[in-house]
């Protein structure tokens, strides 16, 4: 008991004096947990090469972050786990047969150029994992476009590439194979089922917001339907679901406001559809999200009604709006 309180030990930091338990680290751990089934599935489908890709990507991301922070004389903050998340995401969006040195280069581009040069966590404009992959796709187009079938690892084309050639012979059981992930693709994008489970987990734990992912998938589905293409095949193959769940919900590079997120998702969906339908590439998820990342600061200007403000209508311009 203290009859005389030691005044020096009193903390004078301003209110609020209590705090929710969630921290940045906690959020990153939850994202890693949600990615774990996808990693395991990737290793089961594509074997040791997938495991090596995952390990190399995570380790090099963490090491590059540590080195960059040391060299830039910033406090080292690798313990917040964001580099681990970037590493996992980068590995999950590349082909399992990508050469190791390419992955290291991709990780370097993602962490050092995509993130630390912009000011580190919270300041980057583009999604680090996607900017790393973007760099790899543009630099090593051939290697990054090499796909293998699950389990027996025979060189093959992805479903979207097949669709592009005009081959649209799908039967119901094929859709099921796509749904459970029995298709060629990147390590993490093949199984729609596992991605949806991760999405539900992240939604329940309130780590992600439903708006952008839903807007993106809905936009692609609706536009694909009207273009007359196979909607289910477009939804279940390629990186659409993976991108929608894990990339459009990235905190730093996507808008923070509700309507900003909806429009962000819509833009991603629209660009994805345009690239898939009319572009030279079979897949457009990565570029669509990277392009929309650039719009994020502008989309953040779309704010809702403040308490006590008259309700906004679509056609009347009101203060504080766009």
């Amino acid at each position: 008991m203290a009859s005389q309180i030691d005044l020096k030990q009193l903390n004078l930091v301003a209110s609020p004096h209590i705090k929710a338990r969630a921290t940045t680290q906690h959020i990153m751990i939850m994202v890693c947990i949600s990615l774990l089934p996808l990693c395991v599935n990737g290793v089961i489908l594509f074997g040791i090469p997938a495991l090596i890709t995952l390990a190399v990507s995570v380790v090099s991301c963490v090491v590059f972050e540590w080195v960059a922070q040391k060299l830039l004389k910033k406090p080292v903050a690798i313990q917040n786990g964001s580099a681990v998340v970037t590493g996992l995401l980068l590995a999950l969006v590349v082909s399992p047969v990508t050469p190791v040195w390419m992955i290291i280069l991709g990780a370097f581009f993602a962490i050092v150029i995509g993130k630390e040069f912009f000011g580190g966590i919270g300041s980057n404009v583009f999604n680090p994992a996607l900017i790393g992959r973007g760099f790899m796709v543009l630099s090593f187009a051939a290697a990054m476009g090499t796909w293998v079938t699950p389990v027996d690892a025979i060189s093959t084309a992805t479903v979207l590439a097949t669709l592009k050639t005009g081959d649209t012979s799908f039967v119901t059981s094929d859709y099921f194979q796509l749904f459970i992930g029995n298709q060629a693709g990147t390590i993490g994008e093949t199984s729609a089922m596992l991605i949806l489970i991760a999405a539900v987990f992240l939604l329940i734990t309130k780590i992600i917001d439903w708006r952008a992912p839903l807007a993106m998938t809905a936009t692609v589905a609706i536009l694909t339907f009207f273009s007359g293409a196979d909607v289910l095949a477009h939804l279940l193959s390629g990186g659409l679901l993976f991108g929608a769940v894990f990339m459009t919900t990235d905190y730093t590079t996507a808008p923070v406001t509700a309507w900003g997120r909806v429009i962000f998702g819509f833009g991603c969906g629209l660009i994805t559809f345009l690239i898939r339908q009319f572009g030279g590439l079979p897949e457009g998820v990565m570029f669509s999200i990277l392009i929309m990342n650039a719009f994020t600061p502008f989309l953040n200007k779309i704010i809702g009604r403040k308490a006590g403000e008259p309700r906004k209508t679509l056609f009347k311009k009101s203060p504080g709006g766009v």
């Binding site: 903390n11 209110s15 609020p16 959020i27 919270g122 406001t257 403040k306 308490a307 504080g320």
Partner: protein, 476 residues
Amino acid sequence: MYRTSEIQAFSVDYLSSSHYNICMSTNTFKGGLHLPEHKELSDGQAIHAVCPSAKLFCIPVTQGGAQNNPVVAVGDKVARGQKIAESDAFMSVPVHSSVSGVVKSIENKLVSGNVQASCIIIEKDDRDDTAFLPVSDPFTCTKEEAVERIKQAGIVGMGGAAFPTHVKLSPPADKPIDCIIANGSECEPYLTVDERTMIESADAVIDGLAIVMHIAGAKSGILALEDNKTHVLPILEEAIEKAGYSQTMGTVLCKTKYPQGSERSIIQAALNREIPRGGLPFDVGCLVCNVGTLCAISEAFREGKPLIERAFTVSGKACTKPQNLKVPVGTLISDLIEEYFDVCDDVKKIISGGPMMGFAMKSPEFPVQKNTSGILFFNAAESNLTEESPCIGCGRCIKGCPWRLTPVLMARALKNNDTDTAKKYGLMDCAECGSCAYVCPAHVRLVHRFRLGKMIARKKEANAKAKAAAMQKGGK
């Protein structure tokens, strides 16, 4: 108990009937937080009226409202209830001596808010003189007289803001008041004093509510509680029945959520009315009074007693005996330590007020004021001591903001000294409730930044105005 939809129609038939069986409430507002309550520490502890054995009382000259000046000089003998400070301003609320004694000195002392302010130090003697106002009947005197009595009794909002009650009771003539809300939500964690006031002084609360309704000309009165205080409902309803106000008064339960106690939230939750931006409760025909304030209003008329005593909660895990105390205004917290409770060695924070909006104090040597609702002694585990880390843009602060502002973007704009953009995102609307900073996973000190930002924005506005005035002058 009635629900929002029913209040709108406010039927006398409904009030006289008794459908009192709903326990979980759906009355609520958007945004806000479910906080760990920690009310169990001092829950069920009756308000213990005490006076410390220490002789010196330190009464701040201004406790809400405009700046006062002392009306006593050093060496004067003062009686309990005697006016010792006032000013001519309409916004001013007089301050009374809470003990009988001699004025020792008038000097700057540490007060709530962790600032120095002019205080009258009174040394208590054994004369025990009292000088209360004459007893008055609020229902027979004129409204002007009643408002003046509330002012002369030194009554301010006891929920924490210390807004002068007589000002609240003088709305513009074109804003009729139809409903008075007695605010018993007590949404700050740890605090239990309002709950105890409602249990122990239900009659005085009801009487105070009737007086305010009479003065404001309101036809209905509502006692609004959070649904963690359901057990208080029967006591209040019995008191309403006993006083014969069942036709005009009722209770409303609201979903327990922070910051329910703010006027904007409670009006939204209890009546489903929304105060316009920059407006006040009278803009939607309402007036909100804390239950403690209502109690004080009743005493001011029935006993002629000015606001010289204050009940508050002492709590926190570094306090050995959490409890509810009632002491004369001006009692130093340090004089209560050891006599009524003790403080553990591991105390890390002393807070005047609640944990969400209170002030961290640098020493326990500060007086209890009219608006002191709690004194908390936190150990390191309870306190929020983590360092700031970079904002990751998760948007949790937007969801948590009960005012539907965009804290993350306000903070980003302020980082670039761009107060205009911050204002567009709602900087000046911020009530500093702390919801955003509470949920922030990066521990960004958002409230602190907004306080600074507001100061800078006001300064810029004043500068711009002065510049414009100077330009005009030069042009002439």
